[in-house]
């Protein structure tokens, strides 16, 4: 009983803090719009096959007698070169982009965060070893490295996602390591060490939870960047393969027709723009709220 009371006392301020964070986030107009848009995107992503007016046009059917029709009531965003409804395909593209974006960032976090924490909290030689490896990765331009990896793995959406994860994790390692170094000197870590807590436990239950705020900010901004990179890889033919309704791939195909069919490039392009924008807005909002310097001003 007593034990539970103690842990409740420990958790209560955290819950309060979280609620305050959410409150502050929602008070910012732009962030609130971004949050609403992200809810909408997630909703679309989950229910895309049911929302799409021509669900067979997503992957299965071709309908060439209706090719390259301008937007009309039957086809809200017009049709593509094989007569498929662009509106349905853009809706479904949301699922692909969000899924691959979240997964790629998730994988990067899984690799990057523990490595950063280990580097920051361990002996100098472990730190050196990990950080020099990240330096090697960071010395390549991000997109170029992703292109190279995707080219080696072979063109497909999964491989593009892997390629991005592999080229993205070092950023998180850097951020976490910086945090971990300062945390290492803090009282509670020293205390944990003094009572003989194992090293790995210190890393995973004391250091990582306390340096997660800047990582969350970075990750939410990165989702936009990752979606953009996947679109770029697909545009180059290294990502999704036809007939997958991936936005970058759709824009890539539309290049051939853009002189006579503006809608074909425009709507997938807008979809990318909006998605990347809202994730960046959310990231900005999160940074303002989670950074102690700007949090008080709000």
């Amino acid at each position: 009983m007593n034990h539970q009371v103690i842990s409740w006392n420990a958790i209560a301020p955290r819950i309060k803090e979280f609620r305050e964070t959410v409150y502050l986030l929602k008070r910012n107009k732009l962030t609130r719009i971004a949050l609403l848009a992200i809810y909408a995107l997630i909703f679309i992503a989950i229910f895309a096959p049911w929302l799409a007016p021509h669900s067979t046009h997503i992957m299965m059917d071709t309908n060439p007698q209706d090719k390259l029709l301008a937007p009309c009531t039957q086809y809200l965003f017009g049709t593509d070169e094989l007569g498929r409804d662009i509106f349905s395909r853009v809706l479904y593209g949301t699922r692909i982009s969000l899924q691959t974006g979240l997964l790629a960032v998730g994988i990067s976090l899984l690799i990057g965060v523990p490595l950063g924490a280990i580097a920051g909290a361990s002996e100098w030689y472990v730190d050196e070893a990990i950080m020099r490896v990240t330096d090697i990765f960071l010395s390549f331009p991000g997109l170029l490295l992703a292109i190279a990896i995707a080219a080696i793995l072979g063109p497909s959406l999964q491989n593009a996602m892997l390629a991005i994860s592999i080229s993205w994790w070092p950023w998180y390692t850097r951020i976490v390591r910086g945090q971990a170094i300062s945390l290492r000197e803090r009282q509670f870590v020293k205390a944990a060490k003094a009572i003989g807590t194992p090293h790995y436990k210190i890393i995973f239950s004391h250091i990582i939870p306390n340096c997660i705020a800047p990582v969350i900010v970075q990750a939410s901004m990165d989702i936009g960047g990752v979606i953009l990179t996947i679109a770029a890889l697909s545009f180059l033919g290294l990502g999704a393969q036809p007939p997958t309704p991936e936005w970058g791939l759709m824009i890539s195909t539309s290049r051939t027709y853009f002189l006579s069919a503006w809608w074909y490039s425009f709507f997938p392009g807008m979809a990318i723009l909006i998605t990347v924008l809202v994730f960046n807005l959310l990231g900005d909002g999160l940074r303002e709220v989670l950074d102690p310097k700007t949090r008080k001003k709000q």
């Binding site: 036809p242 027709y257 002189l259």
Partner: protein, 528 residues
């Protein structure tokens, strides 16, 4: 101090820039005053202008460039169906097509100044045969080349073959300067050098991008009043950029525009859409070495599942006709009475059932050239119809080079299952066509169905043997061979393409010759 030095450097460099610009302006005005601006023909295409500069080796898209720099003994006019003399003025055959004698044109000079004679012809053909690369097999019947006198050369053959047609080949039949080739090492030509007799001289070649050719003043056939002083062949991948450049008059000619663009450009008075018959055809090659397509019934099912009509109408945009048999309608050996598949999904399903095709088998890999919009559309339509009979296909658009590389992987498991192929003749002969795509090959070159059947090999070998003197029998054998291909279905014959070369109205004199697809002989053309 550092900043001051920097600003000094800046001052000096800007002074230099001004001087350089002034100098350039002077140069330009002098040039403009002394000579008229040189006329440039710009040909833009979606692929590299050339892959290998060695005329004995190149077997890809380099024929446009090579046919302007080098010449062959004879040329084939596919619209008139006759052979035109080029470096040879006349030829005779004797000994039942086993001996061929060519009279070589006098007064022809190579770009290095040396003279063309019978020795040069012998040297060039023997070099090609000895290297044994690319399309060199076209000379396989030749056993001996003899220089009879300075301007007469004799070919002895092992079996009767149409050597006059072989000498018109798109590839591997070019005559090069022995003097230039001998005085350099083996790779000299491949490294981007060329010494031919053609109307244009190689000025500059940037591999993978652009080739600049300069008119050869001493060309044996002379020059008309108007000519293009330079001919440039450039790679521009985006079809929309190519269309815009032609419409604005920045480019003279281009190929492989999507059908939608062609339809719209027909009404533009500034461009000419040249549509004509071609010897190019599109087919789909099945991997006959690997399950499930090693089964004839499955292949037949796949042939019945193919949406022929839709593909001709929408993928090729109507710039094609449905194929009948392996050989295109314009080629000798084609037969109008051959069986023709048409789409029948019920029959396809039935055949799959008969073949015990498992619905849960692996996804089949279908590769096509990513820059070919028509092939991409075809692949997507086919995928959608195959799904209806329970076959899952994964599409992969690739650059031709990597797609070809993958198809020649050592392990059969690494290769694709379905391959979209575009084929055109090296020389206008059914044997070369069928040999390349379906004859057993020790080392895979273009037989990308990996098809091997001694009965088929014998049929076309015999047909080729009879071709010179028993045309009817030969034709019957080719018919039988094609029926066999249709029954065994190592490949789906999709459509014969129409040639669609778009030119700007200022680009005159272009004559379409289907024997040399997409080749412009710049000597024939002139600006207006």
């Amino acid at each position: 101090m550092r900043e001051k030095m920097l600003s000094n450097v800046k001052g000096i460099s800007s002074l230099f820039t001004i001087l350089a610009i002034a100098g350039l302006l002077v140069c330009f005005s002098v040039a403009a005053a002394t000579a008229a601006e040189p006329k440039v023909a710009l040909y833009i295409q979606d692929t590299e202008p050339i892959l290998d500069w060695d005329p004995s080796v190149e077997s890809g898209g380099g024929m446009l460039v090579l046919n302007n720099v080098y010449e062959t003994l004879l040329r084939y006019d596919a619209t008139q169906k006759k052979i035109i003399p080029l470096l040879a003025t006349s030829y005779t055959q004797s000994n039942y097509g086993m001996t061929w004698t060519f009279k070589i044109r006098k007064g022809v000079r190579f770009h290095d100044g040396s003279k063309l004679d019978a020795k040069a012809v012998k040297f060039s053909i023997e070099r090609t045969m000895k290297l044994g690369k690319g399309m060199s097999y076209i000379w396989a019947p030749v056993t001996k080349i003899t220089v009879v006198n300075k301007y007469t050369v004799k070919f002895d053959l092992e079996w009767p073959a149409p050597l006059d047609l072989i000498a018109t080949s798109n590839y591997a039949a070019f005559i090069m300067s022995p003097k230039a080739v001998k005085s350099h090492n083996q790779d000299w030509l491949s490294q981007g050098n060329a010494v031919g007799t053609g109307p244009y001289v190689l000025q500059k070649s940037t591999m993978g991008e652009e080739v600049i050719l300069r008119a050869f003043d001493d060309y044996w056939n002379g020059w008309g009043e108007k000519r293009y002083d330079f001919a440039v062949v450039k790679k521009i991948v985006e079809s929309s950029s190519r269309r815009q450049m032609i419409e604005k008059g920045d480019a003279s000619a281009t190929v492989y525009l999507p059908a939608e663009d062609l339809d719209q450009m027909k009404s533009n008075p500034n461009v000419i859409v040249n549509v004509g018959p071609s010897l190019e055809n599109t087919s789909i090659m099945f991997n006959t070495q690997r399950a499930p397509l090693d089964n004839k019934l499955v292949r037949q099912a796949f042939a019945y599942a193919f949406p022929y009509k839709k593909v001709v109408k929408y993928a090729a945009g109507g710039y094609a006709i449905k194929a009948r048999g392996a050989l295109p309608a314009q080629l000798w050996g084609h037969s109008k009475s051959l069986f023709q598949y048409s789409q029948d999904l019920e029959k396809a399903k039935q055949l799959l059932k008969q073949a015990n095709y498992s619905q849960n088998s692996r996804k089949l890999l279908f590769t096509y050239v990513s820059s070919m919009e028509a092939d991409k559309k075809m692949a997507e339509m086919y995928k959608s119809d195959l799904a209806k009979i329970g076959v899952e296909v994964e599409l992969r658009g690739m650059p031709w080079e990597s797609m070809w590389e993958l198809s020649k992987s050592r392990k059969v498991e690494d290769r694709q299952d379905i391959f979209a192929m575009l084929w055109w003749p090296d020389y206008c002969d059914p044997y070369s066509w069928l040999y390349n795509m379906f004859h057993s090959q020790k080392e895979i070159l273009y037989n990308l169905a990996y098809w091997s059947d001694p009965k088929f090999d014998k049929l076309i070998d015999d047909a080729n043997y009879e071709m010179m003197f028993k045309k009817k029998k030969s034709l019957a054998l080719y018919h039988e061979a094609q029926e066999m291909l249709l029954d065994e279905s190592p490949s789906i014959f999709v459509y014969d393409k129409k040639n669609t070369l778009v030119t700007h109205k200022s680009f005159k004199g272009f004559k379409d010759n289907p024997a040399y697809p997409n080749v412009v002989f710049f000597h024939e053309t002139y600006p207006e």
